[in-house]
Every structure is written in C-alpha cells, then in structure tokens.
C-alpha cells in the first residue's frame, strides 16, 4: 500500500480508554418457565 513518503512520517501514541475490539455478547441465562401448582 502506498501511504506516502517515509521522510514525512510523524509519530503519535494512542491509548484508548477501552480497546475498540468487540467483546462477546453475554449469554442470557434461560429463565425457568413458571410451573403451575
């Protein structure tokens, strides 16, 4: 990929508060069906 000339490079440091990586969706525990007495 041609991203330009190396001589123009500037360095930046990015430390996000939270990494932009999706976390797995928590699995909902199935609720027990109410059983008629």
């Amino acid at each position: 990929m041609d991203i330009g000339l190396p001589e123009t490079e500037q360095e930046i440091e990015i430390t996000p508060l939270e990494e932009p990586v999706p976390t797995p969706t928590p699995v909902e525990e199935p609720r027990e069906e109410p059983v008629p007495a």
């Binding site: 990929m1 041609d2 440091e13 990494e19 999706p22």
Partner: protein, 153 residues
Amino acid sequence: MSEFSIEPILGWRLWHVRLHGNEYRLESFTWHHVSWPPRRRFEATCTIHRYTAPAGDHECGIYAFKTRALAEDLLRRYTGIRHCYGRENRELPPVRHGRPIALGSVSLWGRILVREKGFRAQYAYPYELHVIGGDDRIARELRDRYAVDVSRV
C-alpha cells in the same frame, strides 16, 4: 516528539476474504496467509523489530489509508480497472469470481506513524466492512465472526 490521544484513529484498507479451514476470515491484502484474528486486536510484528513494530526506519506495521477513496484506488489498481473511456471510474470494479475482497474502515491505536496518505500502526481491529464479490453467507459469517457491521457492495 510524539502526540498522545485516547481516541483510536479510523483508517481505510482492503482485505482478502479467504477460507481458513471451513470459516471465512479477513486476510492481509499484501501478505498472503496472514489472517486477522476475530474478537482480538491484530498486532504488528516484524522479523527484525519483533513487537516494537512499527519501527521508524523500516516498513513494518499495520497499514491503512487516510481515506476511503485511497483504498478504492488501490482496489482499482489491483483489478486493473482504473479509468472508463478516459473518465474517472467511480464504480467499484468487479473482483475475480470466488475471490471476495473486503473494503472497510479500521480502528488503529498504540504507536502510529503517520504519512501524508496513511498510517502504519501497532494495533488494529476492523470497524466496518463492505464485501465486494461475496454473497450473503460470507457477509453474515464475517459479521458474526468479527462482530462488526458488514454490508455487500
């Protein structure tokens, strides 16, 4: 001296979409068989600088363009379709059958080296994908696997 920020940069890039075993994965556009891990950051490595990539005096790191137009231009160069009857071709070119490509935005963070057209980054994860030359099943698989928005072009 480097600048500091807490907001990831969004760049644009291309990926090959290839089968790894029986699942479709994003693969580096320029390094064959380098697969992007789902639900985990992709980390730059280098045979010389190892985990200190991207290094200032080298070409290592995760590449991305600053704009979608630059990524689309690379796609046109890759497919050999750049102009249509002398005019700028604004449509995305068709890709080879069975060789889907993903065009998309990518979050970049960690140490980043910025040039006039793009970036070399330490860490990356896809942000949004547009699949070219793939069917609904491939788009759905990528959406589930990487947990990002995926559309078909």
